[in-house]
């Protein structure tokens, strides 16, 4: 059974946030004051980061980058393979990614099933993550199974994975359709899975793409275990010996030796240069596809100059999320910000206007200091609590930290540093930032939007306020 299926890029980018952030109505907010929170509370919230030591970083002979997180006395092990999917402009399609990920999960899982180890597919921004979790005594066996799986020269199981993906892909919701279309407009890539295109994939091309995706020169391996890195060297050496990337020839592309760069897309994208419901308005994409009611997704990319910008973008999303269904995916120097809204049958055009107005209102509002602290506290707390409930897997948090770090040396401290930066954000600074980046009417241009799951009548009514493409 497929535990996690390939979704459109939106879910790949923001799987952890969009669904969890959905709110149908604004929460009741207690009265807050514009004063600084108590220092002790701020310090305590700022300490909500994993207490991991500096990881042991290694680069294997085959080009694979490894990070070994040692936890003395632990009872579990986690092995996470991070596979970037959008590194090249001619990146694999959503169907290829879904089949390759399912093939890897299935092949790895069947080799470690008897050891009580489970393998799951998770999605990060511009990447797929495969994670094996189980008792600490099975670490060597899990790495050995990974080696066997990746060393296959002729991955015969791809056809089986294709069949499973075909069976498991559900009918797409209007939210998924709208989010995928908006993201496609913003980033120029399409990682949505279309059942009709799955069968059209040639077996040889699929195998070739599999080898390209699982090139160790592009991947990153993160291990969290009570075993010391020194004791795991031999198994990693065997992994490097058996798992080699395709021969790129003498002119082959040199691999990147920094995880923070490996996992970030380097495709140039062109901002739309337009706003929403403004003088130079972005044409609305209307799509009838998608089950469920009508859904509007509007969004933009936000260039992030550094760690301070990343912290600001996260806090702004947390504030917006208290009133809207807002999500953000941060990956290095770019963030994708999306807002989803339901479109009713009665007056869809007013729903469209209200969604834009609501976001613009939030962007122009100065938030009290205590509200900022509450939002940061909730975000930082929920992050560690979720990690605890999901098996105390440090590799998942470390993967998040890679997205927040500028250099490999800064990954270990990235979560704590990000927390400190969020707690230090002043209301005035946030207001200026949101006015610039989150106001779809008067802020920086670069917005895109899509309405999906709407019939012809609703589309015509929406067109009264938002011109269509």
């Amino acid at each position: 059974m497929i535990t996690l299926r390939r979704r459109p890029l939106l879910l790949g980018l923001a799987a952890a946030t969009l669904g969890a952030c959905k709110r149908n109505r604004a929460p009741e907010l207690a009265e807050v004051w514009d004063e600084d929170p108590a220092l002790a509370r701020t310090e305590a919230a700022g300490a909500l980061a994993p207490p991991w030591p500096q990881p042991v970083r290694g680069q294997l002979d085959d080009g694979l980058l490894t990070f070994w997180l040692h936890e003395s006395g632990g009872a579990a092990m986690h092995v996470r393979l991070l596979v970037p999917t959008s590194v090249y402009a001619e990146g694999p399609t959503g169907e290829v990614i879904a089949i390759a990920a399912e093939h890897a999960r299935h092949e790895w899982q069947r080799r470690v099933q008897r050891f009580g180890v489970s393998v799951a597919i998770e999605h990060g921004p511009h990447r797929v993550e495969l994670c094996a979790s189980g008792p600490d005594t099975q670490l060597t066996a899990s790495i050995a199974a990974l080696r066997t799986m990746l060393a296959q020269r002729n991955p015969a199981g791809l056809d089986g994975a294709r069949a499973r993906v075909r069976e498991q892909v559900p009918a797409r919701t209007s939210l998924e359709v709208a989010a995928a279309a908006t993201t496609r407009r913003l980033l120029g890539i399409d990682e949505a899975v279309d059942v009709g295109r799955i069968d059209a994939l040639a077996a040889a091309a699929l195998a070739q793409q599999w080898h390209a995706l699982t090139d160790p020169r592009q991947c990153v391996l993160v291990i969290h275990a009570p075993m010391a890195a020194e004791d795991g060297k031999a198994e990693l050496r065997r992994l490097a010996d058996a798992w080699r990337g395709p021969d790129l020839g003498r002119g082959g592309q040199a691999f990147i030796d920094r995880a923070t760069l490996r996992l970030r897309r380097r495709v140039e994208f062109v901002p739309t240069g337009t706003r929403l419901l403004a003088a130079s308005s972005t044409p609305l994409v209307v799509d009838a596809a998608g089950r469920g009611g009508g859904t509007l997704v509007l969004g933009r990319t936000i260039p992030l100059g550094g760690a301070d910008d990343r912290a600001m973008a996260r806090l702004a999303q947390r504030i917006a999320q208290e009133e809207l269904d807002a999500s953000i995916a941060i990956c290095g120097d770019v963030a994708v910000f999306l807002v989803a809204a339901n479109l009713g049958r009665g007056a869809p055009e007013s729903d469209v206007t209200q969604a834009v107005d609501a976001l613009a209102a939030i962007a122009k509002t100065r938030q009290p200091r205590q509200r900022l602290f509450g939002a940061v506290q909730l975000w930082l707390g929920a992050r560690v609590v979720e990690a605890s409930l999901h098996g105390e897997d440090w590799t998942a948090l470390f993967a998040d930290a890679i997205d927040l770090a500028d250099t490999d040396a800064g990954i270990a401290d990235a979560l704590a540093a990000d927390a400190a930066r969020q707690l230090a954000i002043a209301p005035d600074g946030l207001e200026q930032w949101t006015q610039r980046w989150l106001d779809p009417r008067t802020g920086e241009p670069g917005w895109a939007w899509t309405a999906a799951g709407v019939d012809g009548d609703a589309a015509a009514r929406i067109e009264r306020v938002a011109p269509r493409t």
Partner: protein, 474 residues
């Protein structure tokens, strides 16, 4: 009257706090993620001698060895009657706080089924310090999760939250049972919430579980809230709450990154203003029945060939029951058995009222078929017990690495007897079922107090309503 306790805490906020607990290596390193803990009010690492009923100091059996190394936990009964268990988990800055109250649906009065279930929900409605739903909102506001578990003999208020909120959470749990707000509108809301709750599905019929545990209260579901309960007056609700939900029958379990002695001091401060009270919570475990043949219990359910053994509320025995059950399932049919004979074992897990269920079919004499299997496990045929013990111990160790499962597990600790545990700081393994399975004693086979699980005479057997001799028992 002041109960006889092995440890005394300061009686109020004004109590002197001269002693700081001694640092013990890594546990109190400066890197500990939660600052701003209060100064230790007492030296729990070096407690004064425990006092027994006679006023004489009692020997500290394992104190020295325990304090010298390895993880420790704190286990103490405070003067107000609440038991506090604190363990440490440094993996993430996350804490689990569980308030377990030793009451449950089996305590429902005959004329008010669903009472305890509804009362448990009502304790989410706040008190003088917290608005209705306030404690839950506080946990959610900090990024944590909160939930309620209602069982036949234990009710737990569970929360997992960032360690930065530990102090607030302990204070909230130390306040939850105090003078809960009672009003007609709130009670109506409580009943509405409680009625949405779905009952648990048990493998064994209720009549069998009731007979095995010798508790008539287990015969009813306990989840549906009756009209008699819904129509209770405010005064009656308050009276029932005070009677059934007191700290003298509660256990606060905290698993946090901080050293147990520091967390224990937080808890002691939170409970310090409660008056002294004798602990009411009792061990409900039944003495296993001995004999050659199982007793019978009538049941409406179609359960011929079903045998049930009670599992007491004790993590160690529960772990052993899982081992025994697994060992039974490891056995293969022998040549002398008919080909259609099937014997399978399952566990209805519960903190206090769990049962081991063996179902046999395909044999002319089901009792003999089960008796033979039990004998083969006693004989440790094929080393099945040892294999299963290893598997169960490893599984438990893996599961208990996280704060919430560990806190739930510790809440299963057998209620202390008249003499509470002493000293308060003990090896962390002392209350863990997996540690019991890994101990040197475990290699010798099933311990004496668990051996009844391999005796057919200790079981209760299902009988159809019209087949039980004398109408069944009890």
């Amino acid at each position: 009257m002041m109960p006889a306790v092995g440890w005394t805490a300061p009686t109020g906020p004004a109590a002197p706090a001269p002693v700081k607990s001694a640092p013990k290596g890594e546990a109190q390193s400066p890197a500990d993620p939660v600052p701003a803990l209060p100064p230790a009010a007492v030296d729990v690492a070096n407690p004064p001698p425990a006092i027994d009923d006679t006023g004489e100091p009692t020997p500290d059996d394992d104190d020295t060895s325990a304090a010298d190394g390895g993880d420790m936990l704190a286990d103490i009964v405070l003067p107000c009657g609440v038991r506090v268990i604190v363990a440490q988990d440094r993996s993430l800055p996350v804490a689990a706080v569980v308030l377990a109250v030793e009451t449950g649906t089996e305590d429902d009065p005959n004329d008010a089924p669903g009472l305890v279930h509804a009362l448990a929900y009502h304790l989410l409605q706040g008190n003088r310090e917290h608005a209705p739903g306030g404690i839950t909102r506080m946990v959610h506001g900090g990024g944590g999760v909160a939930q309620l578990a209602i069982g036949p003999a234990q009710i737990r208020y569970e929360s997992v939250l960032p360690a930065s909120m530990l102090r607030e959470s302990i204070a909230a749990e130390a306040s939850r049972l105090r003078a809960p707000t009672v009003s007609a509108p709130l009670w109506n809301e409580t009943v509405r919430f409680a009625r949405r709750d779905r009952a648990r599905t048990w493998s064994a019929p209720a009549a069998l579980r009731a007979a095995a545990h010798q508790s008539d209260g287990l015969r009813h579901d306990g989840h549906p809230v009756s009209e008699a309960v819904a129509s209770l007056s405010e005064r009656a609700v308050a009276s029932h709450l005070a009677e059934r939900f007191g700290y003298d029958r509660a256990t606060l379990v905290v698993v946090a990154p901080d050293p147990p002695d520091l967390v224990l001091n937080l808890a002691m401060a939170a409970f310090a203003d409660l008056p002294a009270a004798a602990r009411v919570a009792r061990d409900r475990s039944v003495t296993p029945r001995r004999g050659a043949t199982p007793r019978t219990a009538t049941t409406q359910a179609q359960a011929p060939g079903t045998f049930v053994w009670p599992i007491p509320g004790d993590a160690r025995v529960q772990a052993w029951a899982t081992v025994v059950c697994g060992a039974i399932n490891r056995l293969r049919r022998v040549a002398t058995e008919p080909a259609r004979v099937r014997v399978r074992c399952t566990i209805d897990d519960d903190a206090r009222r769990g049962v081991m269920i063996v179902r046999a079919s395909g044999a002319d004499d089901l009792q003999t078929a089960v008796r033979d299997r039990l004998q083969r496990v006693r004989d440790d045929e094929g080393g099945s017990l040892a294999k299963e013990r290893t598997v169960v111990a490893a599984g438990l160790r893996h599961e208990l690495r996280m704060p919430l499962p560990l806190a739930r597990h510790l809440a299963r600790a057998r209620p202390p007897g008249p003499t509470p545990p002493a000293p308060p700081l003990r090896p962390a393994d002392s209350l863990r079922g997996d540690a019991a399975l890994r101990s040197a004693d475990a290699t010798a086979g099933v311990p004496g107090d668990v051996a009844y699980l391999l005796e057919l005479g200790a079981a209760t057997m299902a009988a159809p309503v019209d087949a039980a001799p004398g109408g069944g028992t009890p």
